[in-house]
């Protein structure tokens, strides 16, 4: 099985080579694109199949040492429950993105080469069983995705986005390498089994926590390390951003979970969960609020990704805390919530980014203020989008609700950890999560309502046509999956049981009980706590809907009539605007106005400037709204100043005399030797 996975990774690397080779042969782009995306589709499905087989049949986990590796030992790969769960997500999301890409106009070699490499890097990260291989895969993934963001490098904005992304990727690497180094300790073996055997203690444990959270958080886009995220998505195309948002963050979160929940062992104290809970709740709130302010659809979806990453991190934090307080079933509940939400979000966000890609291809823009009314031109895409936003807004009985239900149940049980600080933190986190969920619903209404409903806002948008057949299939498949995931979360949790055991400890029950209802159809939150029966709720909703429709239509038989819209007394649009005056519709900034004023002014420094002319002045008044995320300013501006300061100081070294240069070199040598001697003596 591992051989098959390695073969898949090798094939992906081969596909990248093929794509690179085809660059020299003119006129082969179409064929190369078909080969690359077709290959990725097949391999993605293969990954998903292997992962499902591993999870479903409980195949034994045997680490396999490869015949090559770093100088100090062999590279080791293994597939345990946690790896398999994330591999399942990688396979499903990768296959959907590849299928969608097959239907699009062929992309250039700049996308075709790194696309399979990114998949290969992610797969390698997931199946790695030693620190070196994991970091290797992680960095391959980082640099391949950097190349994907930089693919459309002709625009200066995209180049800046790619540069910023690279900076954060380097930061992630710079934190994760010492984290694994500290974990390995003096023994020096990076194999996971050896790392688990000697969990870190004292300051080393704290340092691993801080470095792991910063490293994985920078890659996953946790606040305040999320500054690179929205611009990167403006640059990436539909399938690429689907893959990045659907899977890449999940791989970063996998590294976080592997590092902090698995490799650091079950001995860590309960307060370890607090930083994760805080970071998760703050990320959820910030991401969801920013999603309400963004003017373009891909950055909007990216900000909603920050929110969901926050939810998953929060679940991991709760797992750590419950495990530290010896509350095994609750730890399993929180871990199950996180894992389920990772899968659900991976699928529905893939779907939404593919929808964004379809809209971009069809209507030529991703600015909300140039779109509108697309439900008439693109009904299938709109249907898929509706399923996606329902899941993203966590509406029952779709996929997002099941995992959020579990997460909220875990949060509502947080008071069982008998520590008043933690209790208050969890109560605040509950409020923030609820607020973030409502904000996400508002953002999704804004996305769907302004892009698909209403009237077109630009001639190009009015000329949109439905997506081609392959794209439509690539939208409907994940949409169907979202519905299925929502209806059978219990079965999924049963499937995730090996992964939950990795996170929550070996002897914990899963939150899906086989009794008394048919196996896996019920979600149960702890003993005596509440239950959620998604299938029953769905059937009930369907039954009531049909009955209601039947009763109403029996009593009210009149056919629907069409008439001109009243539109609050606005005059008719001029004849050249045959789809109506776009300015009489709510726009992207207008829809965000209440939230900008209620929350944005406090959290995002939002400002509104209204310039009213005095009475009698015929010139138009002006209104400008502005919101900016303050974290890049706090975080990046001091760093930039520090860099400039160091550079200015280093400049001075150039003016040293020859004697000064020599004494500097000599002094450095002496200091280094002294350091070496001190280290030897210890």
């Amino acid at each position: 099985m591992l051989t098959g996975l390695l073969l898949g990774i090798g094939l992906l690397a081969l596909l990248a080579l093929v794509a690179a080779g085809s660059g020299w042969v003119p006129g082969q782009e179409r064929r190369a694109a078909r080969a690359v995306h077709g290959g990725c589709l097949v391999i993605g499905l293969g990954f998903a199949g292997v992962a499902a087989a591993k999870l479903g049949m409980g195949l034994p986990e045997v680490p396999m040492a490869l015949p090559f590796g770093p100088p100090w030992g062999a590279a080791v790969v293994a597939l345990d429950g946690l790896s398999a769960w994330f591999l399942l997500l990688l396979g499903l999301s990768g296959a959907s993105a590849s299928l969608f890409a097959l239907g699009m106009p062929p992309e250039t070699g700049r996308v075709l080469v790194p696309f399979p490499l990114m998949l290969a890097g992610m797969a390698l990260t997931l199946i790695a069983a030693d620190g070196f291989t994991l970091l290797l895969g992680f960095e391959v993934m980082s640099f391949a995705s950097w190349a994907l963001i930089a693919a459309d490098h002709a625009e200066a904005e995209n180049r800046a986005a790619a540069r910023r992304y690279l900076m954060f990727a380097v930061l992630a690497g710079a934190c994760l390498v010492p984290a694994f180094g500290l974990l390995a300790g003096p023994a020096g073996s990076l194999e996971f089994s050896a790392l688990r055997a000697s969990p870190p203690e004292g300051w080393r444990a704290g340092a691993v926590l801080a470095l792991g959270l910063a490293g994985a958080g920078a890659k996953a886009g946790l606040v305040p390390l999320h500054a690179w995220l929205p611009p990167a998505y403006r640059a990436a195309s539909g399938p690429v951003s689907a893959l990045m948002s659907g899977v890449m963050y999940k791989v970063a979160l996998y590294v976080l979970a592997r590092l902090l929940l698995d490799l650091c062992g079950p001995v860590q104290p309960a307060w370890w969960g607090v930083p994760l809970v805080v970071a998760g709740a703050v990320s959820a709130l910030f991401g969801a609020l920013r999603a309400n302010m963004e003017a373009e659809i891909q950055p909007l979806l990216a900000c909603s990704t920050i929110e969901n990453i926050g939810f998953i991190t929060l679940g991991f934090g709760l797992t750590l805390a419950f495990r530290g307080a010896d509350l095994g079933p609750l730890a399993a509940l929180a871990a199950g919530a996180s894992l389920l939400h990772a899968l659900n979000h991976g699928i529905f966000k893939t779907l939404l980014f593919l929808v964004a890609g379809a809209v971009r291809n069809a209507a030529g823009s991703q600015r909300i203020d140039r779109l509108g009314g697309l439900i008439h031109a693109m009904p299938v895409t709109a249907l898929a989008a509706l399923v996606g936003i329902g899941a993203a807004a966590s509406l029952p009985p779709l996929a997002g609700f099941a995992s959020e239900w579990l997460l909220l149940e875990a949060l509502l049980a947080g008071w069982r950890v008998s520590d008043i600080v933690f209790q208050v933190v969890v109560a605040a986190a509950t409020a923030l999560v609820a607020m973030a969920a409502a904000l996400a619903a508002a953002a999704m209404v804004r996305f769907f309502g302004l892009v698909f409903l209403g009237r077109p806002r630009s001639p190009r948008g009015a000329g949109a046509r439905e997506a081609p057949l392959k794209e439509r299939w690539a939208l409907l498949l994940p949409a169907g999956l979202v519905v299925l995931l929502g209806l059978f979360p219990g079965l999924l949790l049963a499937l995730a049981a090996p992964a939950i055991r990795v996170l929550a400890g070996p002897a914990t029950p899963t939150p899906a009980t086989p009794t008394p209802a048919p196996a896996g159809l019920v979600l149960v939150a702890g003993e005596g706590a509440s239950t959620y029966l998604p299938l029953a709720v769905a059937l009930l909703l369907a039954l009531v809907l049909v009955t209601l429709w039947f009763l109403v239509r029996r009593r009210s038989t009149g056919a629907t009539q069409r008439g001109p819209v009243w539109n609050g007394g606005f005059s008719d649009p001029p004849p050249f605007l045959h789809f109506g005056d776009p300015l009489t519709q709510p726009g992207a900034a207008g829809f965000a106005q209440p939230l900008r004023q209620m929350l944005g002014s406090a959290l995002l420094g939002a400002r509104e400037v209204v310039m009213m002319r005095p009475p009698g002045d015929p010139r138009p008044g002006h209104f400008a709204a502005h919101a900016a995320d303050p974290t890049p300013g706090w975080l990046l501006m001091p760093l930039a100043r520090l860099r400039d300061g160091i550079a200015a100081r280093a400049e001075r070294l150039r003016d040293l005399t020859i004697r000064g240069c020599l004494s500097l070199s000599f002094g450095t040598l002496v200091v280094l030797l002294a350091l070496l001697a001190w280290l030897e003596a210890r």
Binding site: A431, A442, L533, L540, P586
Partner: protein, 319 residues
């Protein structure tokens, strides 16, 4: 528990709330009219209005999509399913295991989203304005509600409504400060969720101040009837929820006989009537507030709910 009694109770409950929903709206209007010195229309008037609207042909805007036609059914369905899970005259209904408070929040969100999308469907200024405000108010109402749920979960150990009601009635909790704070917070949320004064005015004709009605400007005929029915269901839902949690007295226990049901019914009608009266007094006594004062109103509810949970942490020796 799939027993015969639970099915009967569920069916009776459904019939009861379906009948009660328009009456609750009518009763509040009548009471308000009386308090303001008018004679007021009969409490049956909302029902008559809905039946009249059902007979009329709906007129849709030229560019309205399927959303305008489907959304009222979806919103009504979600509200009705939520209401079907809230115990009225007796506990132990068929749907009691489904009646989870978080699911209730989700169903309310489903109805709210259907309403907001219907408001945006035609692309008019008022619809968008109403949708944006409705979704923004929820951002403050939902956390306050969930913190109230946290208080209940700590006291009852569950988020299932039936079990919470049972615990609060039989558990001998007595009068608790936390519950009082949570009750105030939940009342504020209920007022905001139902678009009542001081958050929104259900009887207004001044478009700029409207939230809920602004989204319905383009609907007519059976669609409007469904929307009005949905609003009535939601109001009844909140009143039933408040009485099920905070005044669970008189409700027939699981597996009781018809005599207990009659007593429970009388108690429920009394509780709902009292709540309607309180709402009418409140609405007559207070003015509508500016839209941007609403976050302060709901923020106070949020703080009260947080305080309720924090008091429990400190007082009950959980720590």
């Amino acid at each position: 528990m799939l027993t015969f009694g639970s099915i009967i109770v569920q069916a009776l409950h459904l019939a009861l709330v379906l009948a009660a929903a328009p009456l609750v709206v009518g009763l509040i209007r009548w009471l308000k009219a009386r308090m303001q010195g008018r004679r007021g229309a009969s409490p049956l008037q909302p029902l008559r209005d809905m039946l009249k609207l059902l007979r009329k042909r709906p007129v849709l805007a030229e560019n309205a999509s399927m959303v305008s036609e489907v959304a009222p059914y979806v919103a009504c369905t979600a509200s009705l399913v939520a209401l079907a899970c809230i115990p009225s005259f007796s506990r132990g209904m068929l749907l009691a295991p489904v009646g989870d408070l978080i699911l209730l929040v989700g169903l309310l969100a489903l109805a709210r989203m259907a309403l907001a999308l219907a408001g945006l469907d035609v692309g008019t200024g008022f619809g968008g304005l109403g949708a944006a405000r409705e979704m923004s108010f929820a951002v403050f109402a939902e956390p306050a509600l969930l913190l109230c749920v946290l208080t209940f979960a700590i006291l009852a150990g569950t988020t299932n409504l039936d079990l919470i009601a049972a615990t609060f009635r039989d558990g001998g909790l007595g009068l608790r400060v936390s519950l009082a704070l949570a009750a105030v917070a939940m009342l504020a949320v209920a007022v905001a969720e139902n678009a009542r004064i001081p958050v929104d005015n259900p009887g207004t004709h001044l478009e700029v101040t409207m939230v809920h009605e602004a989204m319905l400007l383009e609907s007519s005929g059976r669609h409007l009837a469904l929307w009005e029915f949905q609003a009535a269901l939601k109001l009844t839902l909140w009143l039933a929820l408040l009485s099920a949690i905070f005044v669970p007295f008189g409700t027939a226990p699981t597996g009781a006989g018809p005599l207990a049901w009659v007593l429970g019914l009388a108690a429920w009608l009394l509780k709902l009537g009292a709540l309607c009266f309180a709402l009418a007094v409140f609405e007559s006594a207070i003015a509508k507030m500016r839209v941007f004062r609403v976050p302060e109103f709901l923020g106070a509810a949020l703080l009260l709910a947080l305080l309720a949970a924090a008091l429990l942490f400190v007082s009950t020796g959980l720590a």
